[in-house]
């Protein structure tokens, strides 16, 4: 089966001369259609940089980004974004503060010339568990969890098949996180979406994803199944350390 998302030998460097840093060093993975693939690692390990490269926010990379087996064009085309959408980490920073939710949601529909805008907005709000009145609110009138639901709604509007999720719940409380994670999991199962999800939280990744890539210092050091992660069957020292730290036994 052709993977929905594949990266091959993806390398991204920043800076010039002596300040040159390899943020991502020949990373490769494949996510099958309908799969949730996780990337875990500490800050600065390059996990978000990979998502930004896939979505084309930074297309200064070497190596391949393949969507459904097709090389993604540089710069990304309009059609690309009907297939691939991204949800960002901070719902406080990713919604325009001076725009009503309706305006934020209507923009991608206008760009892609969709019809029945109001119906679609009402439908998508319903899909993410928000009442239709939310369309007439401003971001500051919403809680963190509600904002993140709006961010998911915005990504879903164009009916993409692939969602890139960059730490979608790290700004939320555990109780609110549970709701958003359930929503994402349900949407994936109902619509056969493919997720590439980045997080530094092992619990979230193990719950959401079936396979996980572990990154440190720009390299994918290990790829393992969520079951292996739960049973602590990690091969590299780094992954074992990460598991111990997440279980809170690192300083017991």
């Amino acid at each position: 089966m052709t993977p929905a998302v594949e990266i091959r030998d993806l390398t991204i460097t920043f800076g010039q001369g002596r300040a040159r840093v390899k943020a991502v060093d020949s990373a490769s993975f494949r996510a099958a259609p309908g799969e949730a693939f996780g990337i875990i690692g500490e800050s600065g390990s390059g996990k978000s940089t990979i998502l930004r490269a896939i979505t084309g926010l930074n297309d200064d990379y070497t190596g391949d980004v393949l969507i459904d087996g097709q090389q993604a064009q540089k710069p990304r085309t309009k059609a690309f974004f009907k297939t691939v959408q991204m949800v960002f980490q901070d719902p406080y920073g990713s919604l325009h503060p001076r725009r009503m939710i309706r305006a934020t949601l209507a923009e991608p529909l206008e760009i892609h010339r969709f019809d029945r805008k109001d119906d679609r907005i009402a439908q998508v709000l319903n899909d993410v568990g928000l009442a239709p009145e939310f369309a007439y609110r401003y971001p500051h009138q919403l809680s963190g969890g509600q904002r993140q639901r709006v961010a998911v709604a915005r990504a879903l509007l164009l009916e993409p098949r692939i969602l890139l999720l960059d730490e979608p719940t790290s700004a939320l409380d555990v109780s609110v996180q549970a709701g958003v994670l359930n929503l994402l999991d349900r949407l994936r199962r109902d619509r056969g979406l493919t997720y590439v999800m980045v997080s530094h939280d092992l619990r979230v990744i193990a719950h959401m994803c079936s396979r996980v890539a572990v990154m440190t210092q720009g390299r994918i050091v290990e790829e393992l199944s969520a079951d292996a992660l739960r049973d602590q069957r990690a091969e590299t020292e780094y992954t074992q350390q990460l598991i111990r730290a997440s279980r809170g036994t690192a300083h017991a």
Binding site: N182, A206, H207, R230, G248
Partner: protein, 281 residues
Amino acid sequence: MTDTLLEIENLRVAYPSAHGYTDALRGISFSVGRERLGIVGESGSGKSTAGRAAMRLLPPKARVSADRLQLQEIDLLAASERQMREIRGGRLAMVLQDPRYALNPMKTVMAQITESCRLHTKCSRAEARDQALDMLEAVHIRDPRRVARLYPHELSGGMGQRVMIAMMLIAKPQLVIADEPTSALDVTVRGQILDILNERVEAEGAGLILISHDLPLVADFCDRVLVMYGGQIMEELAARDLSAARHPYTVALNESLPPLDRKVAELTVPEHDPKWLEQRR
């Protein structure tokens, strides 16, 4: 308890809102001695407000009342702003969440640490410098002389948090309030930072209040835990019993956490029940 450091009785805080005052804290009472006390709860439960009220750092528009707010012999409610300036940082210190915002971006690490030292202890510039370097070493910074010359933007998150701990503990406070000290950090660094905090607090014989929304972390680190919800303390228990808590709110919080040892189809989302507020233990 003879060793009580901070005693709070019936503390109420309200903020002005569109419909009169909204209660942030509805009469909480607790005391803390030379121990590690954890305060857990969701955002908006009032846990940070409690910490800030003890430091008298709430905005002027907040309405604060308490039967008692006592730091050893000092009545914090009656203390003048001048006295408070000596107490804050001197006897009662606060470690904040994100070193990127809590450190002064225009001052070097050395300048920030020596400032706190010079303000609260009578020492010369040279002594303050030496103490600052010792302190940086005590928070496990490998090359204190180099780091001392850096500005906050040149530090990593974990390093910034160590600098903040050094800055807060150099004046040897009796009680340290750490408000989400590790939630801006990676899991791999979290343990280290807590170890350092614990080490320093133990070495100085101070008390510690750890405010966090991370239940496993608090269970692992503290001696005693207060669970807060809706501006009230729901229950108080020994930290090792946190996973076996019986209050429905604590149970719901525990259940909403994705488990690491088994696969679940769906996470439990806590349904907030007004009845919880009546079931205080």
